[in-house]
């Protein structure tokens, strides 16, 4: 049984908590050993977890926490810059991270995934996909052959066809990235946009077809 500590107790951390308990419930129903035990949350801000419907402890703050023992960490944040800050902090102190794949998603066996990723329910990840470290995939569809870099997030109902997505990219809801495009590092793809050409690094795009803003 693997011990798990969730860093950051916002709404996304609560979602992580729920998905891990669903994984444990399913293992219980199938009569297989229960894989995870949640020790608690780390939070810099005072949070009342009973309001969110959860019973869990807050073990300390993210800044002062020192990892010890064999527990593994998951990061409850979705913005790429915030994820990078917290993961660098914890990595310097020697923490190790765990991949969480939801029970309601369909992920093939043939993919390469880094550490600290989280794939929520409703997503469909096909064969041959390469996913980096600390990537969040929230209910999106990723076709065969795509590549997603470190610290990126994709939100609900996005479709990523045969494309290359770099580090730290935030893809908004209902966006479509067409075959053969590259979205460079730290770009933002706004909600509802259709990306038909390559996107330069650090730029926000919007519309169909997607054009730079600002």
């Amino acid at each position: 049984m693997q011990d798990i500590i969730i860093a950051c107790a916002g709404t996304y951390g609560v979602e992580l908590f729920n998905e891990i308990t669903e994984i444990n419930k399913k293992a219980d129903r199938d009569n297989t050993p229960i894989p995870y035990r949640i020790l608690g949350f780390l939070s810099d801000v005072k949070v009342d977890l009973s309001k969110r419907g959860i019973k869990a402890d807050i073990l300390g703050t993210v800044q002062d926490w020192i990892p010890k023992g064999e527990e593994k960490y998951v990061i409850g944040l979705s913005r790429p810059a915030q994820k990078k800050k917290v993961s660098d902090l914890l990595k310097r102190k020697g923490a190790k991270f765990e991949n969480i794949v939801s029970v309601y998603s369909k992920v093939s066996q043939d993919i390469i995934m880094g550490e600290g990723c989280f794939i929520t329910g409703g997503s469909f990840v096909s064969c041959g996909v390469r996913i980096g470290d600390f990537v969040n995939i929230n209910g999106s569809m990723i076709y065969a052959g795509a590549q997603i870099g470190n610290y990126s997030t994709t939100t609900g109902f996005t479709v990523i066809e045969d494309a290359r997505i770099g580090d730290g990219v935030f893809v908004g809801s209902k966006a479509v990235v067409i075959n053969g495009c590259t979205v460079s590092d730290w770009a933002n793809v706004s909600a509802g946009s259709v990306v038909t050409e390559d996107v330069r690094p650090g730029v926000t795009v919007f519309g169909m077809p997607a054009q730079e803003i600002g």
Binding site: K106, S108, D110, I112, F124, S126, C127, G128, R130, M141, Y143, A144, G145, Q147, F157, V159, E161, D162, K174, V176, I178, N179, G192, S193, V194, T196, M208, P209
Partner: protein, 219 residues
């Protein structure tokens, strides 16, 4: 036991292979026997299948392939005109195409799919009429009629429209009720179709209007 061969021209072949694997898992759980096993890929002449420096088991090109008695085929080409070309090529040599019906589809029990369909939709309601060689990938249907050789891609919703043949519906699009769409149209990504489409061409936007394709505008 027949050998299943997937005909492809892009990485979409691996998505179809994922469907085949999930069908095999489901049939094993129910203790049924699948009449075929996966054998390999046959790709079109112009395709260069390279997947993260991993080589797929490609058995040959589609133009030179001669189908044997113990082989069935699955059509993993998405573009409707190319689909029609390769289907007719292989049918002349006597090929037989398989229906792939994924286990997560919610469809009425009396539904029957014609030859060569790949059905991986979310839900299909009663009264839907689906022609041969239609690819449906993670979409939703009402009581629609879909012509042959069409492909409907991810997260799109066709409520009760009638589609003609050789239509490509790109991801995340929406078609209103009781709309007629003529043959050979492509509906662009993230578009909402509100009125009938009476001639073939390329349509996109909210609401959907006739548009020249971007690559043609550049020229």
């Amino acid at each position: 036991m027949k050998k299943l061969i997937i005909i492809c021209d892009s990485n979409f072949a691996l998505d179809v292979k994922l469907i085949v694997d999930s069908i095999q898992e489901y049939w094993q759980e129910q203790n049924w026997k699948l009449p075929y096993t996966f054998h390999g890929y046959v790709c079109a002449d112009y395709a260069k299948l390279k997947l993260n420096d991993k080589v797929l088991p490609i058995l040959g090109t589609a133009e030179e392939w001669s189908p044997q008695q113990d082989e069935t085929f699955a059509m993993a080409i998405v573009d409707p005109t190319k689909k029609k070309y390769y289907v007719e090529l292989l049918k002349e040599k006597g090929a037989h195409f398989e229906v792939l019906w994924a286990p997560w589809v919610l469809a009425p029990l009396t539904m029957k799919f014609e030859e060569g369909c790949i059905i991986a939709a979310h839900s299909i309601k009663e009264g839907a009429k689906i022609g041969p060689f239609v690819t449906m990938f993670h979409c939703m249907l009402g009581a629609a009629t879909i012509g042959e050789y069409s492909s409907i891609m991810a997260f799109s919703n066709i409520t009760t429209a009638t589609l003609g043949s050789q239509i490509y519906v790109a991801p995340n699009s929406f078609v209103f009720e009781r709309i007629n769409i003529s043959n050979n149209t492509t509906i662009g990504a993230n578009s909402v179709v509100v009125k009938d489409i009476k001639a073939s061409g390329y349509v996109s936007g909210i609401p959907a209007r006739r548009v020249r394709k971007i690559s043609e505008e550049r020229k």
